[in-house]
Structures are given as C-alpha cells and as structure tokens.
Amino acid sequence: MVNVTWKIARRSNAQLPLAIVLALAVVLVLLGKAEGGLFDRARMRVTDWMQPLLSSLYAPVAGFNRWMGSTDELFRVYQENLALKDENARLRQWRNLAVVMEGRAKRYQALLHAVPDPGLNSVLAHVIGRASRPFLQTMVLDAGNSHGVKPGEAVVDASGMIGRIYLAGNHTSWVILLTDLNSRIPVSIATGNGRSLQAIMTGDNSAMPLLDTLSQIVTLHEGDQVVSSGDGGLLPPGLAIGSLVKTSDGFRVALLANAASSEDVEVLGFRKAPDALPDVSDAQLPAVAAGLQPAPPPAARTTVPPVAMPLPPQAATPPGAAAASVPSKPLDPNAVQPDGNE
C-alpha cells in the first residue's frame, strides 16, 4: 500500500522534469546542428587522457583481429601466393617505366621552369583505436598538436589515402575515414584517354565511397585511377586513393588502403605555398616603361615630416580614379613638398 502511494506520487512529480529534459535534449540537437564542434574539446581531452590505456588495450585487440584475419587467409594462401608473384612481375615492369617517366618529367620541368610541388612534412603515427558506429567511422592516432598534427591534414598508409584528421588533441587525433558518412574529398579521375575529370568522393559508410558532382557527359571506365585533386588547397594533389568500380548505383571507388588493417600511418602536413611574385627590374616598372622618372624609395620621403591633414570627402577616390589623375609631366623626387603639392 505504501509502495503504491509512493509510486503514484513520484510519477506525477516526474512529469515536469521529464518534459524539461526532453526540451533540453531537443535544444541540444538543434545547437549541435548550428555548432558542430560543440563537444570537440571535451572529446579530445577524454581521448588524450585515455591514450595510455588505449595504447595498452589496443595491442591484444589488434592481435585478435590479425588472428581472425589469418584464419580466413589460411585457406587461400596458395592461390594468393601465385597471384602475388604475378602481380610482382608486372609491378617491376611498371617500376622501370615509372623511373624513366620520372626522369623525363624532371627534364621537362627544368626546361619549362615549372614551379616545383610544395614540400610535404609528415608525422608517423600509430593507430591506437578504431571505431565503426552508425554515424561515424573513425580511428584514433597517437600523435596530436604537440607533434605538429592539425585538423584537415591527409592520413595515408603504404597503400594510399585513408582519411583526414578530424580532431587534434595534444597527444591524440581522430581520423575521419574516406568511407565515413561525413567525408567529402575533391578527387581527380585519370581516364584512359589522358584526360582527368574532377569529382567529389562521398563516403556513405559502405566499403566503397560514391562519386558526386560528375558531369553527365563524361564517360568513365572501370579501373580508372582516382587521386586527390588538391582543390581547395587542403590536401596535396596526386595522393593515390583507389580505382573505379561499376556497381548497380553508378561508379564507386575501390580504395587502395584498407583502414581496418592499417597499423602505422603518415599524417601529411600540407599547406599550399602562396604563389611567389616574380622579380621585377626597374626597367619593367610602369612609370619607366612609359618614359617617366621612377619614384624615389620611401626612405627619401621620410626626411620631411608628414603633416596630418583631414582629407576632404572627394579625396576618398577609388584606386582606379587615383591612377587616372597621375600628372603627365615627369615626376621630380626633389619636388615633393610637405603639403603634397609640387
């Protein structure tokens, strides 16, 4: 009897907090939509704090996964060995060709004075965790801000690109995999006829990402190579990603790297270098080219203290108008007066 009375009283009191908490949860979802990185800092602190534990726990789990994989491979080791020998012979031919082509490309670049590719600095990291959840496919690395890892950088292994850094803490970082639902990468597809097509590769939590924003008139073929395009300047161009595979819902990308088995990866630090300004000689200055005397260097003008004068409203002219008002007679550097008049 006592229990029933207590239960009824509690239930009626619990309705109000439940409604408030429900409203708070809805607000949290909407806030999360507006501010995607709401929990990022807390998430990284927890991962940093758990790094030693994760490192020690991951070794037996990785061993178990390797053992699971090896039992599957045991039954087809002979066929795989034959296929590998065949592939190795073909790759040696390709390697020879690549060495020749690399030398030729360097000669052409030297002849054309081509701007060299920006250098990449990389950080070697170990995978200390990986998770596959309905809304996120990720792996955790044991390198973070203190090692120079920054969000947005590409993560590759020996086979090709795996993903990019999503969050970087002090000692750990999270990688968003190419297969993840939220992954969007600008790619370039090298077609057989020597052309390259631009597209966006979109993850959908399946093993093979989709290709988006492709032109309707292009013709693709199975086996066409997909590399990063470098558009946007976040990722280096030319990173090997995979090859095209035709499926029932269009072309997908069979990835070269297997994120599930990667143990050691490289984080590529890439910042597109700003285009260097060409050296300009005095003869190329517009004033000299027009037959005028060049203006003196700014240091010569500082001998006269400037006078602060409020500009009239009509003085605030656009740059084009100011250039049009250049006097037609030769400029005399010694004729500069404190008030700016000749």
């Binding site: 207590w6 908490v21 429900l22 596959s132």
Partner: protein, 177 residues
C-alpha cells in the same frame, strides 16, 4: 553518538546507492565507446549505456531520473563522436516511453523482457536515424540495425549483472525506503 553514526552511515549509503545507477550508465557508455572494434569493425558496439537506464527505470525510477538519463546521453554523445545531442534525445525519449508504460514493461519476463528492452533500443536508434536524416543526411540502415541487434543481445548478460548489483548493493542500502 551511536545513533548519529548510524544516521551518517545511512546517509552515505543512500547517496552511494543513488549514484550506482548513474555510475553503471557511465561505465556502459565508456565500454561502448572504447575505440577497439573486434573483427575489423564487423561487430558493431552495443549501446551499453541504455541497459542501466531501462533497468532502473523499471526497478527503481527514483534512482534513474530524467536528469540522470540526460547526463548519460550527453556522455554518450561526447564520447561517441557523432553529431551532438542525437543519443541524448534518443535515451530521453526511450526513458519517457518506458516510464509512461512502466507497468506494461515491468510485467514482461523471459523473452518478453528482452523484447521490451529491444523496443526501448528501437526507439533510441529510430530517433537517431530520424534526426540524422532530417538535420544531416540519411545514414545507411545496416549499421544501425546491427547496433540495435547487438544492444538487444547484450541486454541478457547486462540485466543479469545489473540485477546482481541491485540485489547486493543498491537494495540493502535503500531497504529503509
């Protein structure tokens, strides 16, 4: 003096017993979100944080309040890495449905009890799917169904462990209520 000691230990015991469901939820969330996937991600992680919510919502709802459910949900969102708030809303909605139909759910036993919990897990996963579809983009159903199945499967050992904790820890400390 003896009486005050007794009251003090009683209060400590009550506070500790009130914390046990929350701590079990926290432990479940931490275990769920350890980034250690077996079988190369083939086995999805179950939502272990939902098991204490469901269990104590039926057995002792005064120990599993909406605020505690909300806190466990936020922790799941922080550690889970998905869009913020999705699991919080899913947990709170499941809690709301279960607490409103508490007599029905509490009357289930055997396979029915597992189905009851599977209903709560379904509400949570469906909430996540709907919110994700409405606010972001439609996620594939396969991983979500896998997570739902694993969560329902883990309820059997989970309820056994929580039952033992409740009988040996929470029950004796709250026997005066």
């Amino acid at each position: 003096m003896g009486a005050s000691d007794h009251v003090g230990s009683l209060m400590t015991g009550r506070i500790f017993s009130a914390l046990v469901p929350f701590l079990c939820g926290v432990l479940g969330v931490i275990l769920t979100n350890m980034p250690l996937s077996l079988g190369g991600g083939l086995v999805p992680a179950p939502l272990l944080g939902l098991i204490p919510i469901y269990f104590w919502c039926l057995v002792r709802p005064d120990l599993m309040t909406p605020a505690v459910t909300f806190a466990i949900g936020i922790l799941q969102d922080i550690l889970g890495g998905g869009p913020p708030g999705i699991w919080t809303l899913g947990f709170v909605l499941a809690y709301a449905v279960v607490s409103r139909q508490r007599d029905v759910f509490a009357g289930l036993s055997g396979p029915g009890a597992v189905l009851g919990f599977a209903t709560a897990a379904l509400i949570t996963c469906a909430t996540g799917f709907i919110v994700m579809t409405l606010l972001y983009h439609m996620p594939p159903l396969g991983p979500l169904v896998g997570e739902l199945a694993m969560t329902a499967l883990f309820y059997i050992p989970g309820a056994y462990v929580l039952g033992a904790i409740h009988r040996h820890l929470v029950g004796p400390l709250r026997s005066d209520v």
